[in-house]
Amino acid sequence: MLNDRPLRSVGKTELFLGFLKIGLMGFGGVAPWARYVIVEERKWLTDKEFAELLGVGQILPGPNTVNASVIIGDRFQGPVGVLLCLLGQMAMPVVIVMALAVVYEHLSNVPEVRAALIGVAAASAGLVLGTALKMIRNIRPTPRALLVVGLGFAAVALLRWPLVPVVVGLVTLALVLGFLPLLKRGR
């Protein structure tokens, strides 16, 4: 998948620490943090490569960023890399979620704590939105691709159609749109 340019090598420690950060920071969704660490901060992948992997992760069962991280780990360090990416991204969240479960009863009644959590969640939603817009700006999709982006957005966000049929329909449409120019050229 990363055949467009030589692989930048990423060591095992770097891989683990990168994903530790992604897991630790990933409030309300890991994707924006995965992009920040992988594309912006450490430059392991370009925006286009990251979006490709996220798309692959989307059509497979399981969370899309977890699936993408499996493929990323394998590309850079093989099966050991996969384990490092998964462990790195799960370790801190599992500990934190257990700690939160223990104190939640007491904390959830403190108005300030509630307000802070809602504030973080609101910011996280903006993080996802801003990251998606930024990726669109950086990748500069063709008009055909933009049509797919727009339809996917409308189907899920505006019409609230169920995800699985939408994904199947969108991938089919995108494949057909990608195939048409090839047909013309072949003629």
Binding site: N67, V70, M90, A116, S124, L170, V171, A174
Partner: protein
């Protein structure tokens, strides 16, 4: 105890294989299995677990880890986490290997290009859906939009946005 662990493993391993769209898409079925089919948790306990998992960082499969922990302690946590992760991750591993192997095939190239706008559209939609779930007043909408603008316009660490979001929303609480 062993029986519960086996049931946890079986339930979540099966769910893992059908979890296209991730845990959020699977949520109604997880709720049905955990509360109605197995009676592992009450409705209220499940809602609590969901809130706690949402307040934690990390991939949202940690909801399943938390359910495992509350059902059967530390062994339950390990079994449930592995069960929800291993099948889908194994598939992703095989898919990644397959795509790498056939990376020069025009079909794989076509598929890769097709998946980019799909991923972008769904991420855009996810942002709006999250805003609709979380933002119920003017300050929260403002926090979300400001966060989006910050991420779009700068390369700074997104942690600033999360911290400021928390601070602003607490400050709003104390406005006269």
């Amino acid at each position: 105890m062993i029986g519960t662990l086996v049931e946890l493993a079986r339930t979540f391993a099966l769910l893992s294989l059908v979890s296209i769209g991730g845990i959020n898409a699977l949520l109604p079925e997880i709720h049905r299995q955990v509360v109605e089919v197995h009676g592992w948790m009450t409705d209220a306990a499940f809602a609590n677990a969901f809130a706690i998992a949402n307040a934690s960082p990390g991939p949202n499969v940690i909801l399943v880890s938390l359910i495992g922990w509350q059902v059967a302690g530390l062994p339950g946590l390990l079994v449930a986490t592995l069960a929800i992760m291993v099948p889908s991750c194994a598939l992703a591993f095989l898919a990644g290997r397959g795509m790498a192997r056939f990376q020069h095939s025009p079909i794989v190239g076509l598929l890769r290009d097709a998946l980019v706008p799909v991923a972008l559209g769904l991420m855009l939609a996810a942002g709006i859906s999250m805003m609709r779930t979380v933002d119920h007043d003017v300050p929260t909408v403002a926090i979300s939009l400001a966060a989006a603008a910050f991420i779009y316009a700068t390369k700074r660490n997104p942690l600033w946005v999360l911290g400021l979001g928390a601070l602003v929303n607490v400050a709003v609480l104390h406005l006269p």
